[in-house]
């Protein structure tokens, strides 16, 4: 590790502690510890009961700020019901974690696998699991993931590989201000909480006992059918108006703790209870295809990225402020201060003729970019396998593929001779990742002969993934409506020149281009 990396990492830890101090450690914002439990009514799960120590944590600005972070980024501009936020989801995860724990414990008349301190700590992990999210959830995660402090942190191998928001959530939970607060809570309520373990569960790291891993605890928070997944699939589907039918009672009715051949302890299902898991994975595909990857949602996301990109490039002229603090979006830790409200509030502080004001209002008032080209199995001309692969591979996450897509957009802009008319941030190449079905390899099923097998051994769920990429996967080139035709033709030309990738007319037709062209026969 270089000296620069060491200094970046020191600042990274300091910044996380600073954020935790302001949002959790600042006694000015703290209320007296509550005496009574609290009942919260959730539209999805009904009554959620929180213990007084949990209410003390929930009252912190650290968790209350999650009310200002939409669960499904900008999806509400296409599915108007999708206005739910990370706060509601957090409560749902606490509830689902408890139901899963109760279901497993109920299988054991004595010597229950989940003990009281573990249960409380799992609920603590559920409460904190998303506190590292920034504005519009996952779409900002793509941007701060490539910040120097985040990359230096992952390079340091302090944590195993995990999602950036999980790392931030776990680091906040481990920070001194939060640790001190939890110690106060433990003393006040005379309870034990293991916040070190809770932070490990958030990043998917299991506890060990006699050298054997206790995956079953981690799996409540971070596993193939964890509380997080169960809540987000139900909640996102419910609020988008695409309700899913999942038989959770059946899923949990047979859930027990089993031992793998390595002696590690994992959650297991009975062979007859696998269908609900298949339902979960099928619902996940539907949500990807219909909701998360809806072209309008993705166009809005690109407009958001354009603003953040500009703020990163010109921090002096475009910056977001919160409580007088000027955010530097070249640092991952500064995203923690940014919420959806802070983002849109910026428009109100700028004059009407200001370009940032207009860009923000273009999102708020739904003046989205449009599609100029659709890249899919159906629109690519036959025989273009090599070029299709070279383009499709840009859906891998990371700074180099992000840069390659930006360069591609610049080339399209130049080919359209529009460099002096619109900016490079008005043209975007969007290539989504495929949903993963690794869950099928991580779920253990008890068979009749008492051996454990993977779900994927019993049913090839990965086949669904193949159907998804052939029939549902779509990449796009986005641009302002006024220049759709020019960008359409320029994109066809650039893909052909750079990648020998040719398109059928359907690439323009499905994008509603007025006069769609084809390069398939050229």
């Amino acid at each position: 590790m270089t000296a620069t990396d060491v200094s970046i990492l020191e600042n990274f830890s300091k910044d996380i502690a600073g954020f935790a101090q302001e949002f959790a450690g600042n006694t000015e914002y703290r209320r007296p510890f509550p005496k009574d439990p609290k009942i919260i009514h959730d539209p999805l799960w009904g009554t959620i009961k929180l213990e007084p120590w949990e209410v003390a944590l929930l009252d912190l600005p650290l968790l209350q700020r999650l009310r200002q972070v939409h669960q499904t980024s900008l999806v509400s501009y296409v599915f108007p019901g999708c206005n739910h936020n990370r706060f509601e989801h957090t409560l749902g995860v606490v509830q689902q974690a408890q139901r899963l724990i109760d279901a497993v414990n109920s299988q054991y008349p004595s010597n229950k696998p989940f003990k009281p301190t573990t249960i409380r700590s799992l609920r603590l992990a559920a409460l904190f699991h998303d506190c590292g999210h920034s504005c519009f959830s996952h779409i900002s995660e793509d941007l701060y993931e490539s910040c120097a402090d985040m990359t230096a942190f992952f390079k340091s191998d302090v944590f195993p590989k995990c999602h950036p928001h999980e790392a931030l959530s776990a680091l906040i939970l481990r920070s001194e201000p939060v640790k001190e607060l939890i110690e106060e809570i433990e003393a006040h309520y005379k309870i034990d909480l293991d916040n070190e373990m809770a932070s490990n569960w958030i990043i998917g790291k299991p506890a060990q006992s006699s050298g054997k891993k206790k995956h079953f605890e981690t799996q409540v928070i971070n596993g193939p059918f964890d509380a997080d997944k169960l809540d987000y699939i139900f909640r996102d589907a419910h609020y988008s108006g695409l309700p899913v039918g999942l038989d959770l009672d059946r899923l949990w009715s047979s859930c027990k703790v089993g031992k793998t051949t390595d002696g590690d302890k994992v959650l297991t299902l009975h062979q007859a209870s696998v269908t609900p898991l298949e339902q979960i994975l099928f619902s996940k595909i539907n949500l990807f295809a219909i909701v998360y990857q809806h072209p309008k949602v993705r166009a809005a996301e690109k407009m958001f990225q354009a603003i953040i990109e500009e703020a990163k490039e010109k921090p002096d002229s475009i910056h977001f402020t919160i409580s007088g603090r000027k955010l530097d979006l070249n640092r991952a830790t500064d995203y923690l201060w940014l919420t959806d409200e802070v983002f849109f509030a910026k428009a109100l502080m700028r004059p009407q003729n200001d370009s940032l004001h207009r860009s923000l209002h273009d999102i708020r008032y739904r003046r989205f970019l449009v599609r100029a080209l659709t890249i899919s199995h159906d629109t690519v001309a036959p025989g273009c396998n090599d070029g299709f692969m070279q383009v499709r591979k840009l859906n891998q996450r990371g700074a180099s593929t992000y840069q390659a897509k930006r360069e591609l957009a610049s080339a399209i802009l130049r080919a359209a001779h529009l460099e002096d008319t619109i900016g490079v941030r008005d043209v975007w190449v969007y290539l989504p990742s495929d949903p993963s079905f690794g869950e099928a390899d991580r779920t253990f099923v008890r068979t009749a002969n008492k051996s454990l097998r993977k779900v994927s051994d019993l049913f090839p769920i990965h086949y669904w993934g193949e159907q998804f990429k052939n029939y549902k996967w779509r990449g796009h080139v986005f641009c302002p409506q006024k220049y759709q035709q020019q960008i359409h033709e320029a994109a066809l030309q650039v893909f052909k020149e750079q990648y020998e990738l040719k398109f059928k007319r359907s690439a323009g037709e499905t994008s509603h281009v007025l006069n769609p062209k084809s390069t398939a026969r050229s």
Partner: protein, 132 residues
């Protein structure tokens, strides 16, 4: 063009030898085997396999880059799983042409020598065969 996991896999698969003359090259399509083998290979070839990161999971270490790359190669028709028991990925000409046209140059630009890929391909064959 950036070098990604896809180029490494195309390079390795390109150098895999045919099992039988006149037949397509084939490798196991078992996800567990592939993730375990690539994980093992990363220990021996850290520079070559740098683009693959692995997350420790319940059963075996998993790499999202590997999942996505195989998915991309499959979607683009460079490798395919046929019939109702898709135990193998098969590949022939599209993969060869993809290597010659794009990945060979991209890997060379990234400072990866062909001998290193060939060695990785041999190791891959050995490991994958052992687990099949």
């Amino acid at each position: 063009m950036p070098m990604t996991a896809e180029d490494i896999i195309v390079g390795i698969f390109y150098h895999i030898k045919k099992v039988q003359k006149g037949h397509d090259k084939k490798i196991t399509a078992d996800r567990e085997t592939l993730h375990r083998v690539f994980y093992k290979m990363k220990q021996g070839h850290p520079k070559l396999m740098d683009v693959f990161s692995f997350r420790e999971r319940e059963h075996f270490p998993e790499s999202t880059q590997l999942d996505q790359a195989l998915s991309n190669l499959d979607a683009a028709g460079l490798i395919s799983r046929q019939n109702l028991a898709p135990r193998y990925y098969r590949f022939e000409n599209p993969l060869v042409s993809s290597y010659d046209k794009f990945s060979k140059g991209i890997l060379a630009d990234a400072g990866i020598e062909e001998e290193e890929i060939e060695a990785a391909a041999r190791e891959f064959e050995q490991l994958a065969r052992g687990r099949r």
